[in-house]
Symmetry: C2
Subunit: 431 residues, 2 copies
């Protein structure tokens, strides 16, 4: 028990400070679990003068991140700087030096994860990133280890707390999108520029990481089909409610024959689905596997301490492995599945049309749907003398057909505007 492992920390913002606190509070426990004292020897920060309220070893702070990676007195590296560079270069170098890396960097893993894992594998060291997806919720480990002997068919996640908070307010309080987003900013859930959240970029990155592990195939963030929640209206929310659905921003990774589908978009989700009960800024991931059946993982998807908890969990695994000159589970991309284009997926759709309230419009709309082989499951009309709204829910249809149909509807006599088109994810998500 007098072995020591020396930790280099890249970044000491809110997550990094949380990591330092957990390492210090849990020192004895961690030693009992790893067989080594974990000692923080070097910490790279941007601003050397800022007071972080932490007790750090004398001389540990530096603004030269590369020096931390290279240091002889650093055995393991934790990266919590965020962003693709210089984090990527630093992590590659650490792995090449044979130093295990724990990172919380979803952008980097979503864009270069499979490549970095290959470097780690070649160097025979661990690269772990539980904290990169859904904060403290264990999802990387279940996909990579617990379900390693099973066959995962589909993963559906609510992976972005900001958008889930906004949609919850819109649903439960009838708040407008703008007001709900302003609340999210006031509560610190949303950034001043909320684009990464509301446009679905953040969820798409996490979706890529999940798909990559679930289907043993490399998926990059930019390959994920993506729509945000910016255009969701109170009418969409109200219609969904009336039909027995809630609107959620879903990240869906599914296997379809020998291909996979990866997509992030708002959708109607049945109120009875376990994900429908995930409120406010919580995250959850619903997994369907052949043998295990349905599983769900729920919790805080972000925040300094939840993320730090996941980082330290990974660190303990890596430290234990390093003490034994062993390695954790390797990632295999041996299935090498291709991504099926969104146009070729099938699901149900909700379509909302602003129409003239005059005879013949419904017949014309119905004819247009028919001509694109999109069959209508439900339809109703509402509105005043001046303008009416036509609400339609289709049976399962090919996305390509539905899109062509929506384009034709927009040019159709009597149709003023295609106000909304949204996927309806009933029991069968796609085929």
């Amino acid at each position: 028990m007098n072995r020591v492992l020396r930790i280099g920390l890249l970044g000491c913002g809110t997550v990094g400070s949380g990591v330092v606190a957990l390492l210090q509070q849990g020192a004895d426990d961690i030693a009992a679990r790893t067989g080594a004292q974990l000692v923080l020897t070097r910490v790279a920060v941007r601003d050397l003068t800022r007071d972080r309220g932490l007790m750090l070893p004398d001389g540990a702070l530096t603004d030269d991140a590369a020096s931390v990676v290279e240091a002889d007195d650093v055995d393991l590296v934790i990266e919590v700087m965020g962003g693709r560079e210089p984090a990527g270069t630093l992590i590659r170098r650490a792995l090449e030096l044979g130093k295990p890396v724990v990172t919380a960097n979803k952008e980097l893993i979503a864009s270069e994860g499979p490549e970095l894992s290959a470097i780690a594998q070649a160097a025979g060291v661990d690269l772990s990133y539980e904290a990169a997806v859904a904060g403290a919720i264990p999802i990387i480990k279940p996909l990579k280890e617990s379900l390693a002997g099973d066959h995962i068919r589909r993963v559906v996640g609510i992976l972005n707390g900001t958008t889930n908070y906004v949609l919850t307010r819109m649903t439960e309080d009838g708040t407008s999108y703008e007001d709900a987003l302003a609340d999210a900013k006031a509560l610190g859930y949303a950034e001043a520029d909320p684009t990464a959240d509301v446009a679905g970029h953040d969820a798409a990155n996490k979706c890529a990481i999940i798909a990559s592990l679930a289907f043993d195939s490399a998926v990059h963030g930019e390959q994920v089909y993506r729509e945000g929640i910016e255009h969701i209206t109170e009418v969409d929310i109200r219609v969904a409610d009336r039909l027995g659905y809630v609107v959620k921003l879903l990240a869906i990774a599914s296997e379809i024959d020998d291909q996979m589908a990866v997509r992030v978009h708002p959708a109607f989700l049945p109120k009875e689905h376990p994900l429908a009960a995930v409120r406010d800024a919580f995250n959850a991931i619903f997994v369907e596997a052949d043998a295990a059946g349905e599983l769900m993982f729920y919790g805080h998807g972000a925040g300094s301490l939840p993320t730090a908890s996941a980082v330290v969990g990974d660190l303990i695994d890596s430290a234990r492995n390093l003490m034994q000159t062993a390695r954790g589970p390797v990632e295999s991309k041996h299935r090498d599945k291709q991504i099926r284009p969104i146009e070729e997926l099938s699901t149900q759709y909700f379509v909302l049309l602003d129409v003239d309230d005059q005879p013949g419009v419904l017949a014309e709309v119905a004819r247009t749907f028919g001509s694109f082989e999109v069959s209508i499951a439900q339809v109703w009309q509402e509105g005043d003398e001046e303008q009416a709204q036509l609400v339609l829910v289709t049976h399962r249809a090919r996305e390509g057909d539905l899109r062509a149909c929506a384009d034709a509807l927009a040019d159709s006599p009597g149709v003023r505007r295609v106000a909304s088109v949204m996927r309806v994810e009933s029991e069968v998500f796609d085929s």
Copy 2:
């Protein structure tokens, strides 16, 4: 990749058959993940003549389980026979021979887990048992690995599918306990003798395993305070509903200062709690940790394939470790917390009294509560001319005081019967 690891299987009932199927279907995947071909060389069964519909290697079947453990051509042992003996003796022997063991045996782990883990540690091999708690739901690994750097305060679980099914039917359909249990038997959820489920023994065993890991302290199944659901009536369910609660059989493991509390009993749970939405035979485990916050794990808690999925997940970890002459995380019981007796815990209570409908009874009941320092939060009376029912919900009170109060009430003039006493688990579960 031409390394081979040879597996000995103890037991080939429904779970064992599931394991064989997963090992055969997933052979290539498993080889990609472990770096070895996993080959089933020996299978111990009770009845050599039964057709299990499986393809097993010629001569693999034997009715001598000990010979499987001892065999030179067995590197790893899977135990899915169930029951304490001979499983315990076989597992101890396998560990002493340096053979990693994967087991789904909750009875055995709940009674001898800490001792078996110590033997495994001394022998330097893995003993894993994800399948022993909540089927395919990863909970052992999150407690032991993901949250290893965090501090777990409380774990609350719905850990028995049979009882959750019965309570769901009673709640949603107004079915009586007897009819709901008969349905559970017809559906195969309950055994012909359902005692282990309905009296809470099964949940208590799982609670012990969870507490043991969450608090790094040895807990045995028989140390868990236990009440079953046999006495729950339609009135209890109806009153709970009216007050905003559902009745669930909860397994609660919590840390209280330097002690811990471990208990399984039916309780009123607020409808808003994520566990309240866990219906039918599903299981779920709600974890509260200092840094991670609230987490929930949900899924199928039993069944041949879900359990087999967890067994094979563990097997892959063990095989990877064996290939590297490494070990998975060891269990540390270094905190050695003691169990606080149920009488010293505090919570709220629901009390239902059959009383004479005559003046002065309520005053006498209220006086009795007061004399035991149990303060009343809510009270109402209902009933006909002949007999009335008094429904009371207390503020937080010591269990010991509440019990003395209930005894005194039973002897109180005007009180015909203490019909129900049940714990009300609001936001604060205990202190």
